[in-house]
């Protein structure tokens, strides 16, 4: 029986609020598989999957965990995600993991990988040093080497060798998952009242703690259910949200943006679900395929070096494709990649005459009225005073 969007949302909400990761634990019992955690923004989930493990996205504890132990590890002005992650580790919530991957997202995540080795000395911990050079012979070669090492280490840990055949199958599954997520994003872009971001976000985020095939089926089911509803006819301002690719905003913040009169028609939330802009090759050497996909088809974002300084233009292009009227910069407090990128992006928006507004948030923010005020007046500005 097909579930309604409300029923699917209830399912996704349960996963969102579950800091005990019960869905992953159930999967482990059922399959006998392992679980390897990864921090934002990018980790090669296909390799984890091919090693017989579920890649589990660890994106902080949101606004429903009181951080006590985590504050002892980090300065109070830093972003919130490392302290809530350490707190979850210290309280035993992440003991179900057999390993943890820390991508080279920023200095804080790199530092967290060091902390992790102190807090969890028996757990497999790896700093995933993604390349910042995007030529095949330099960055591509380096990344292929890193991926081979990771595949070998994970295979030794889980007891499941990452063969080419297994890895090609995993690549195909994640390609299919990415296509489903992109279809969902297209549906929201074209009919945002049918698939509001507060729902799309939870649907996509569910994939961090689900088996990839089950998640693909969930996304497809939601798309079908959303197409069956009669959406309200709303005259909202179309915006894209930029900057929340690592620490995630609380769901209340996303709802506040929508309630203030905005349709969020594109975003960079849970960016790993759409990291490659094209499918990774499902034939040939699968390690090479992943390496080349990374250097050729990674989505432009602040954690990736861009010699062509094209990220401003990329945001303008996203605005155009999404038929957006403005941009909301929503960056976590002290998120150096997002906040250092912002002036470049803003300069390009200024050149193009695209309106924008900016605020900072923390994953545990509980008071949204000021943000609602800001995005509400921003939406009014676009709807009432823009020349378009």
């Amino acid at each position: 029986m097909t579930r309604t969007t409300a029923e699917l949302m209830a399912f996704a909400e349960d996963l969102y609020y579950d800091l005990d990761f019960k869905s992953v634990k159930r999967w482990k019992v059922k399959t006998g598989g392992h679980a390897i955690g990864f921090m934002p923004v990018y980790a090669p989930r296909e390799i984890v999957h091919a090693a017989g493990a579920m890649p589990v996205g660890i994106v902080g504890a949101g606004d429903w965990l009181e951080v006590i132990r985590g504050d002892a590890y980090y300065q109070s002005y830093l972003c919130h995600i490392p302290r809530s992650t350490i707190d979850m580790a210290e309280s035993g919530r992440l003991d179900f993991l057999e390993g943890m991957l820390f991508p080279s997202t920023c200095d804080v995540i790199r530092n967290l990988s060091g902390m992790w080795q102190i807090v969890k000395p028996d757990m497999y911990t790896r700093y995933v040093d993604v390349p910042q050079n995007f030529t095949d012979g330099v960055g591509g070669q380096f990344w292929a080497h890193e991926l081979r090492t990771l595949a070998q280490e994970l295979g030794e840990r889980t007891g499941t060798e990452v063969t080419d055949e297994r890895l090609r199958a995993s690549i195909a599954l994640f390609n299919e998952n990415r296509r489903a997520v992109c279809d969902l994003y297209s549906l929201r872009r074209d009919e945002p009242a049918r698939a509001p971001t507060s729902e799309v976000y939870l649907m996509v985020r569910a994939g961090l703690v689900m088996d990839v095939e089950d998640h693909t089926a969930l996304i497809r089911e939601y798309i079908t259910a959303a197409r069956n509803i009669t959406p309200p006819e709303l005259d909202n301002a179309r915006v894209i949200v930029v900057g929340a690719f690592c620490e995630q905003p609380p769901i209340g913040l996303i709802k506040s943006i929508e309630r203030s009169g905005c349709f969020v028609v594109d975003d960079d939330l849970i960016l790993i679900s759409r990291w490659f802009t094209d499918n990774a090759a499902e034939t040939g050497d699968p390690i090479e395929a992943l390496a080349l996909a990374f250097v050729h088809d990674s989505v432009p974002t602040a954690v990736m070096y861009s010699a062509k300084a094209g990220r401003g233009k990329a945001v303008v292009e996203r605005v155009r494709v999404a038929r957006a009227e403005g941009v909301i910069f929503a960056a976590p407090s002290f998120c150096t990649p997002a906040l250092l990128d912002q002036p470049m992006l803003v300069a390009e928006l200024d050149r193009e005459g695209i309106p924008y507004t900016a605020f900072k948030f923390a994953e545990n923010a509980g008071q949204f009225q000021p943000i609602r005020e800001q995005t509400g007046t921003f939406a009014d500005t676009m709807k009432l005073w823009s020349v378009a």
Partner: protein, 277 residues
């Protein structure tokens, strides 16, 4: 240009206000009907529907005749809305409709107060708002009225009769409420207590207003705009500070948000029609 019929629904913390307007978006704006219902302890969605139906009946029109329904405040509760505007934007437009030479707006409602500086198009140029503190809010005044056994609609007139206002010692709502209880036990006249409370609130309002401008024509909007004692106290406080701000209220001021939402809705409707033409 053809006239457009639009509706505005202002969902506040204490009451739901609805307005139905007709406009050609070129200066000919007409207010067809207004209606207000206090929420009390009822389901806000039921109150919203009742308020809207009553406004339709007063205007003598059907729901389907209204081309654009816009909300303001907690508008997501209004399932039949087309658009939503932020309350500052709608109160500015509503105030401009009610008193066209308005340059400053003071929106004082159940939970907060906000001063807004606007231009000739009713576009907000700047604003100041009270924080989370309850003093200076309608809820605070309602609590005081309850302690004194006075109906909310009697508060304003009683305050105007005060001869010797008793000032509260603190701007904190919690401490002020304790103050009021002490005043009652000391036998202070109700009118003097209310005037003291009004002056305390007006002092906060004056600071909000003066942080935007020392000159202008101010229109009071929001639920507290019907409180003639509070409007008079605000006038007194600003006069005392020697600024050139004329303070006015309008019999329909409590509907400014709903009226503004309706008028902006009509404006938006015309804009969308022009886009698709």
């Amino acid at each position: 240009m053809n006239s457009i019929m639009a509706g505005g629904v202002d969902v506040g913390a204490a009451a739901v206000k609805a307005a139905i307007v007709r406009t050609d978006n070129e200066g000919s704006d007409e207010l067809l009907a207004t209606h207000v219902e206090r929420i009390r302890r009822r389901d806000p969605k039921v109150v919203i529907n009742d308020t809207w139906q009553a406004a339709l009946e007063k205007a003598g029109v059907r729901h389907g005749d209204v081309e654009y329904i816009a909300t303001t405040g907690d508008g997501e509760l209004v399932t039949f809305r087309r658009g939503h505007f932020y309350s500052m934007t709608t109160h500015a437009r509503g105030a401009k409709f009610l008193i066209p030479d308005t340059t400053l707006v003071l929106d004082a409602g159940a939970l907060h107060a906000r001063s807004i500086h606007i231009d000739h198009r009713a576009k907000p140029l700047g604003y100041r708002m009270t924080s989370q503190c309850a003093s200076g809010s309608g809820q605070f005044l309602e609590n005081i009225a309850r302690y004194l056994g006075v109906g909310l609609d009697e508060v304003g007139e009683l305050s105007l009769k005060s001869r010797n206002p008793e000032m509260v010692s603190s701007i904190c709502a919690v401490l002020s409420e304790t103050d009021v209880i002490n005043m009652v036990s000391r036998g202070i006249a109700t009118a003097d207590i209310l005037k003291g409370i009004h002056l305390s609130m007006a002092g906060r309002f004056a600071r909000l207003i003066r942080s935007l401008s020392d000159v202008g024509k101010l229109t009071f909007t929001g639920g507290l705009s019907a409180d003639v004692g509070l409007v008079a106290a605000t006038r007194e406080e600003l006069d005392k500070e020697g600024v050139e701000i004329e303070v006015r209220s309008h019999p329909q001021s409590i509907f400014a948000g709903a009226i503004g939402a309706g008028l902006w809705g009509a404006f938006r409707h015309a804009k969308l029609l022009a886009k698709t033409a």
